[in-house]
Amino acid sequence: MAALIPLSALAEVEILKGSPAWALTLLAENAEERRLTRGALVVRQHGPADIVWILLEGSVEILLQFEVVGDLLVGVQREAGSVVGWSAFREPHLYTSSARCEQECRLLAVPRPAFEEIFARDPLVGANILRRVAATIDARLEGALRFLTDEEPAGE
């Protein structure tokens, strides 16, 4: 397993802000840092959403992939600490879009069961995390709407 991720780094991740140290420790013990090259797929549309990815460095394109339209760019995530693959928190736990590295990226891969363990241990901590994830999705909604009306997709 790779070196433990510093808790201070995790504490700065948007969806984990306000989470107690024990929760951050649990995540750090289960997380793995990965480097992906430009063009690599982070998640694939309709794939099983078993991992929550946290962007540490780089930028990721969010794509809808349909046969008739090919790859439809619906957003770009650039902000360090942002989540890729929030579908891991949401039934039916299938990624609803693909995410592809726009450039070389450094990401944290956190298995979904680690979060579920936190949720089971302290539901209020879990609720805080999920509220923050929902806020993230809400922000992307505005980006998608702008893209729908031919605005530039809002970067994260």
Partner: protein
Amino acid sequence: MDTVREVELLANSALFEGIDPHHVRELAGLATPQAFQAGETIVAQGESADALYVVEQGEVRIVYALSSSAQPLDEEEGARAPTSEVVFAARERGYPLGWSAAVDPNVYRATATALTPTHTLRVDRAQLEAYAQAHPVFALAFARRALWLAGARLGTVRLALVANRLRSQREAIAALLADYAPTLPVTSPLHHIPHLLGHRLTVDTALASLDALVREGNRVEREVAGLVREQLHDIRAALLLFRSLQRIYEVVASAPPELPAEEIRQRSLLEFQQLFAGTRHIVCGQENLPACPGHIFVMNHLVNHPDNLLPNDFILTLDTHFVASMILLPHYGQAPIRVVRKSHRHEHGHQRYFDRLGYIYVYSGHVEEDAEPGPSPDDRRREFLEIAAGHLAAGRNIVICPEGTSVPTERSPVAFRAGAFRLARLTRPEPLIVPIAVANFDKRIAQTRTAAVVGKSWRLSEHVDPEAPDSVLHDFVNHHAHPMMAGMVRDAERLAEEANPPGEAR
């Protein structure tokens, strides 16, 4: 609303799905019924989300408005800039509105407006948060649901994006379903949906199937059916329009034989008023309408959209019925007389409809080559003028489309025939000629804004000496009347295109 119904409403809402019934009962006790009139705002984009609402009954329009940073600032109005809009509709019981109350930063992301009288259950955010804090298990479950809802909305918008790129909701839905196909049971009714949506006579079945899947499908089916259903606002609106046309046809064609034509005309136009009330339209120039009836109204004639074709191969012309029902009937209290083409022998639907309305028939000999035996063209022309003059003398309005054919808005109007103007010339007292230009009735009117412009009325004798030869009349029609109408049709087109024109209905 009684408590049992409130509990049932919340329990069946997507926002509370799977939540322990005990918590749902407690929250139902905290919730308050709130009703909204048609046109009333339920939540407004940008405002503090201090409550969420669950729809008990009614139809709601949801609009995401985006200010365009690419547009220049308006010099007169300062910071206000034009907006783009993304519109959805909701009509099912249990639909959650204002769920931003459950998601930071607690600001409503869209404006929800009641399209019909709407009854909701309101849940105050402060009370919800206090309850969540005191009940951690509920807090977690509810956060999962709020996240689920946020994801569903994002999915809806993304699918709308695909539809936008494909310029077709149906194709986008087909693409979505094809994409999910490997994850669906082979027996899933979702596989049928693209085919059912492909024809207006089976859209009903598709919608019913989706409604059932949202309630009873497996998790993937419920997700996908919900996504598809949210996209179907325009298709649903088109279906309602089509059903209205079917009903109107039967009101006329199946009217009791003893009912007078005037009564049938009136009834059909009242039905059309209901139909058009559900569409976006704008009318300008009503102040130009003469105070009393008994005049000739000339208008351009637009082709019908093929979606409006009834199963008996007949199409009700929307432009002329709009003018009759939305402009003339409200102003004069009487249904006008229209001049229509006599049905060909094989046009049974056409004949069943128009034979009951007491309209004035013109035979194809006036407009095209006449293959039918019968009176000579001159005799028919005389008969037409006599009948029409009789109506005018009796104080009835007559609507005539001088082109004798129909074309799309962009090509309208084509050349005029002289019949309407010859009628004005030969009728005493001389009637006014009132021009009315229409636009966009050749499009899917459930998805577009139509427009009508009423021009200033005039008498033919002001322009053409009553004793002048026919060539002078034709010259006037071709070089004055037609260009004037062409200008008015362009005005109507522009009116329909304006973002927020004053006087728009719906």
